[in-house]
Symmetry: C2
Subunit: 450 residues, 2 copies
């Protein structure tokens, strides 16, 4: 029995393992890994280079080997697969599910991929070829072909007999039997527990339940929404004719949800490419530059803009002191607003109507603006000697809060309408716009009132 | 048969429904909702007020009614529950799973909660009382008590017989039978499919598989990690003695993952409380103020700081033109860096060693810094007339990129070590620090070189 707490990747464990590996101590390695979950072996191998990992993996059973490769991060896996011969690749792909095989094939060079496909078992081969037709980010690209089907006129005992036959080809766990007609059109589902609990002469049609399905072309984000909304642990995939063509399990959807949260975070923090800290220096640099450049363009525009007010700035130097205050507040307010809109878009919240939404944004902005302006007025009157400037700063701060709220609210809504990811608006984009806007509002107020 | 595409919440549908509801047209409402999934009815009722929803809900079967209440967002539910009598609450709680009942009870005033508990069925009552002992954010608070157990010396046929008995009390779907000894200590699991596929005389001990379990006190974040790592659709929960006390299903964990992504996003965008766009104006204002105030404090400090250089600014007004450029770049670089660190912390990435990490951050910063400085030097030389200032701006920009990278990298690492959520460092916090730091670097360079 292996419990979660049993395996912990301690430094001692790694060191002992490294020692055995350096000595290529076959027996020790096989012994120590015998009862370890493949997912833990994957984590362990992260500590070693590809050649070392290859040595270890080749000592293991093919089912464990395939699980390890399946668990690797796509980036690591890409490098890792290069050191295997086609025959070795074919060997462990043959024991994986069709969706995992398709994912891995997508990471191989086309030539290798074709060679591997040629070597797959006939059933898996045709399943995989079918899956490769779909984009990776739609239901068809997420689904696996392995599933168990039954006909509605069967009895429970017939059904179990058929499951026994079909299950020979299906290595994975399954919890649901999908009921189809003679053209494989999806009719409904029967939970495994029903087959166990009901009398063996019961007809499948008397056990059949409604089933929620998704179509092959549905985007992964939407599949995730459907599965979350209806609390599904798996969902059947049908084509436009309603024919059952595969099923998606929740573990793949958990990955989709996690990746999307990460993508949103990257957009919010101005990183363009899918990059990780341990990617190369050059990749890291390249992923950061585009948004930094946009910030620079904004900064140079700010400088040019302030240049227009050189005369005034020369007269009252203190005007420039408050530029950071105005810009920081504008930036913060903008990000807050856009982030809340992105969140409510993600929830698919009832569109309260644009007018109601904006009037609320306006109320919140007025309250925040009044509060902040009052504080700034008080503090600057106390700390700085130019009373008139204190009033100007305070008034323009209020205006900036209002404007930035509107820009922060409107931008993600517009991006969403245009079909872009609204999270794009929570990042440097909004900040740059609000920096310029804040500056304009401030200097306009200065010109008018000072 | 109900398929996903069948139900769409069109404006026409809502209008028709509203009309029927205004007329309190009992038959029409029952008819139109008959084949609709409870989750969809929940979405529909979002469009109506609590009294209207109550009228609709009371027309429905108790199982549908309880599903709807289960699906409601916690905030909506809290208001919604107020309009029901204790008897009505007891009625639909009695058909829910123990974990959902415990969640709902946590949202009720203590007096109502006690009254409801008193009315629950005896088995559910003791289960719920046990669950209420745990914090909501640990495994014990996430688990449900409903599970199916077997003993290892049973045969498959005995096991099925026992499942039949136990399943009477378990309303939900289950896919796994947990094997325990005479003290309810968890020994392993048997997949339902094994019970169907194997000969009825097979002993449970010959079908038993290793099982990964979590302990009651494990945090929800960690439970999510375990389930993701090992691709589990459910996980048994044991207490410190190793006794099986409940199980957590993946749908609850999906909610945990989604909530955490949201929490991180809020931290990153400077929103303190768990707030949504459609909360009250006052709650929205309050959730935004704290970080805005910190920004204001930073802004006032900036103003004070620039005041120290008043003489220089009066001589060369153009110095102030580049404050926005410097600050924006510092802010952007800081957020990018911290966001990548937060991401790699979330992945539980191998801690490459602080030195290796920092040397990489340094390389990326130098590359980005050189690139941006060169561009800014070129543009400012062309566009602005003060050559010496162009060099100063360009040099300090380089320095700011380096400093901001380090602050952005170090802050989340330090927060993480201190036990805070490192995502806190990706928000206004980092920006405010970097604003001040950038200003200091810039004016220091100005003093030295201009």
């Amino acid at each position: 029995m292996k419990q979660f707490a049993d395996f912990e990747l301690t430094t001692e464990y790694i060191d002992r393992f490294r020692e055995a590996l350096d000595k290529r101590d076959h027996d020790f390695i096989v012994g120590i890994l015998e009862d370890v979950n493949p997912a833990d072996i994957t984590t362990l191998l992260d500590e070693f280079d590809s050649e070392e990992s290859k040595y270890v993996i080749n000592l293991l059973d093919v089912s464990v080997r395939s699980e390890i490769v399946r668990n690797l991060e796509p980036d690591t896996r890409k490098n890792f697969l290069k050191i295997f011969e086609v025959e070795a690749l074919v060997e462990f792909m043959n024991v994986l599910d069709s969706d995992d095989v398709a994912d891995i094939l997508n990471e191989l060079p086309i030539k290798t991929s074709e060679e591997v496909i040629a070597g797959l078992e006939p059933v898996l081969k045709s399943q995989v070829i079918d899956l490769l037709r779909y984009d990776e980010n739609v239901a068809g690209g997420l689904m696996a072909k392995e599933l168990i089907t039954a006909r509605d006129h069967w009895t429970v005992v017939q059904c179990v007999e058929e499951i026994r036959k079909q299950a020979e080809n299906v290595v994975t766990k399954f919890y649901t039997v999908y009921v189809v007609d003679e053209h494989d059109k999806l009719l409904g589902k029967v939970a495994l527990q029903e087959l166990i609990l009901k009398d063996s002469k019961t007809l499948v049609k008397d056990l059949i339940e409604d089933v929620i399905s998704v179509e092959t072309y549905l985007e992964d984000r939407e599949v995730a929404e459907v599965m979350q909304k209806y609390d599904l642990e798996s969902v059947p995939v049908v084509n436009v004719q309603g024919t059952l063509v595969g099923r998606i399990t929740i573990d793949d959807i958990v990955d989709v949800i996690t990746e999307q949260a990460e993508e949103d975070r990257q957009l919010m923090s101005g990183i363009t490419e899918d990059v990780e800290e341990d990617d190369t220096v050059w990749k890291n640099t390249r992923a950061r530059l585009p948004w930094l450049l946009i910030g620079i363009v904004g900064g140079i525009m700010s400088a040019r803009f302030m240049g227009l007010f050189e005369g005034q700035l020369a007269k009252v130097t203190a005007i420039s002191f408050f530029v950071p205050l105005i810009q920081a507040t504008g930036g913060n307010v903008g990000i807050q607003s856009s982030s809340l809109v992105v969140q409510s878009l993600a929830h698919g919240s009832d569109e309260d109507g644009l007018l109601k939404r904006l009037s609320k944004v306006f109320s919140v902005a007025i309250l925040n603006g009044l509060f902040l302006s009052a504080i700034v007025l008080g503090v600057t009157l106390l700390v700085f000697s130019n009373q008139q400037l204190s009033f100007v700063v305070s008034i323009s701060l209020f205006a900036v809060v209002i404007f930035a709220s509107f820009v922060g609210t409107a931008t993600p809504l517009i991006l969403n309408k245009l079909g872009f990811n609204p999270a794009l608006a929570s990042g440097p984009f909004i900040t740059t716009i609000n920096d310029l806007l804040g500056l304009a509002v401030y200097f306009l107020t200065v010109s008018l009132l000072l």
